[in-house]
Amino acid sequence: MKTLNKLMSLTQAVELIHDNDTVGIGGNVLHRAPMALVREIARQEKKGLHIVKTAGAMDVDLLCLAECVSSVDAGFISYETEYSLAGHYRKAVQNGLVKGNEHACYTVISALRAASAGIPFMPVKGLQISDLIEVNDYFTRIQDPFSGELVTVVKAIVPDVVIIHVQEADKNGNAKILGPKYDDVLLSRAAKKVIITTETIVPDSKFAFSQDKADIPHFLVNAVVHMPKGAAPCSCPSKYSIDRNNLDAFKAIKNKEELKDYLDNFMTEDYRRY
């Protein structure tokens, strides 16, 4: 049987992302962030991206430093305790370069669920007394038509493209996440396009003959990049933990010029063809 081969290079995959796109990012804080794709977005100098993530860290921080970002819709943007704040994101928001659209992580999830179901908004039970409703145009209150009570709703967020790093994928785009899936499966359902980087390319027959089927089916996926260490220096469960030296090096970066060197140092690894 003929199959659709979606294997391509990192460069080709990132060319599917356009300036001003809404980009959803998989993983959570320093876990399974699609860092090779993030680095290539920075190298290709994408502009005006609208980033969507429940809880982001280095990925969003790097893209803010690279000046690729126009807005961030997220519940939490920070490294966890040990690596402290996302300084470049914070600075960009405080300088007015990036609009920080604050959500609860759950309202990001609700907005993505709305996108996935093709509906324009989603009611959210928990957002009740909050200044967030008044200051943001993506929240509002409406009447429940059945009880007459007020309910807060969040506007759908439809990512133009979602970038996800997985441990296993076949060349057609069937992709399997080992360990915590975070919000990646939902992201793949909400987006118009999905770009996958994968630690390993598995044979087409692997998922068919396993009880462990793919989490993301091929027909949602537009690009597959074979990219071992594609989440580094972030962690990739069952494959590797964080790369502390590299994280320290990144945290020491002060400006865009130093970022260029940092990105250049990854080029051999990111552009290697497997």
């Binding site: 959570n28 519940g75 966890e80 040990e82 920080g100 604050e102 928990g126």
Partner: protein, 245 residues
């Protein structure tokens, strides 16, 4: 009292974790989020002692995990998936709270005022913030919907406990606020001093709180027991729980 503390080498983090653990009752569904080493250890401690049937829920989605080794840099990693019996990911934990069935959520914030408002968003104007915070993560939706929100914060100063927050991220079912100096409880619409840590004093709490400290009686936070300390040290031999101090 203080000498006992010195003899036993209690850290403030130990006292805070034990205070949090004791707020967890057997059989309750309990959640914590990112950057939450102390609540993570509090849940594990409670399950090891008085609340074995507390249900441990977390961001990676492992139900009742038994992590072999904790990580210094995260409380949201795959180790909280190890030996979990079921998968119940973050989105579903939120849903659980929304439908009124999450018993306890450990949450944080940046500013708290005496009427129970929580700011986890910004200092200054929202659209042109003087300081942009990481964001409240789950706080804005969990504090109103969890049966009991337990707030913890490793700073206790007049910029944290203020007369009026800069921005109301949320307000809701606050049960306790655990700080390095004391425990506040929320009663009849206002924060009251619940217990003072034996490592602190009423005066220190007053000096570091931006609103009038009210209390019904002066009580002290019980010290960690030997059993608690033994388990804490076994679960966290590298003392990650003290990372914020």
């Amino acid at each position: 009292m203080m000498s006992t503390i010195e003899n036993e080498n209690y850290q403030v983090s130990d006292i805070m974790i034990c205070a949090m653990a004791r707020l967890i009752h057997n059989g309750e569904n309990v959640f914590h989020g990112v950057s939450s080493h102390m609540p993570m250890l509090a849940v594990m401690l409670a399950k090891a002692l008085h609340a074995p049937e507390a249900v441990y829920l977390n961001i990676p989605g492992g139900v009742d995990p038994k992590p072999k080794n904790l990580e210094k840099y995260t409380s949201a990693g795959a180790e909280l998936y190890e030996q979990a019996v079921a998968v119940f990911p973050l989105a579903e934990i939120f849903d659980l709270s929304m439908r009124g069935r999450l018993d306890v959520a450990f949450l944080s914030g940046i500013q708290f005022d005496k009427t129970g408002n929580v700011n986890a968003s910004v200092i200054g104007d929202y659209h042109k913030p003087k300081v942009r915070m990481p964001g409240g993560a789950g706080s804005a939706v969990l504090i109103p919907t969890a049966k009991r929100a337990i707030i913890w914060r490793t700073k206790h100063d007049k910029r944290t406990f203020v007369n009026k927050v800069d921005f109301v991220t949320t307000r809701g079912n606050i049960d306790r606020i655990v700080t390095p100096l004391c425990v506040f409880k929320y009663e009849n619409g206002e924060l009251l001093l619940d217990t003072i840590h034996p490592t602190s004093s009423l005066q220190e709490v007053i000096d570091n709180t931006g609103f009038e400290v009210k209390y019904k009686s002066i009580e002290y936070t019980p010290l960690p027991t030997k059993e608690e300390m033994t388990i804490l040290k076994r679960m966290d031999p590298k003392n990650y729980r003290n990372i914020e101090f």
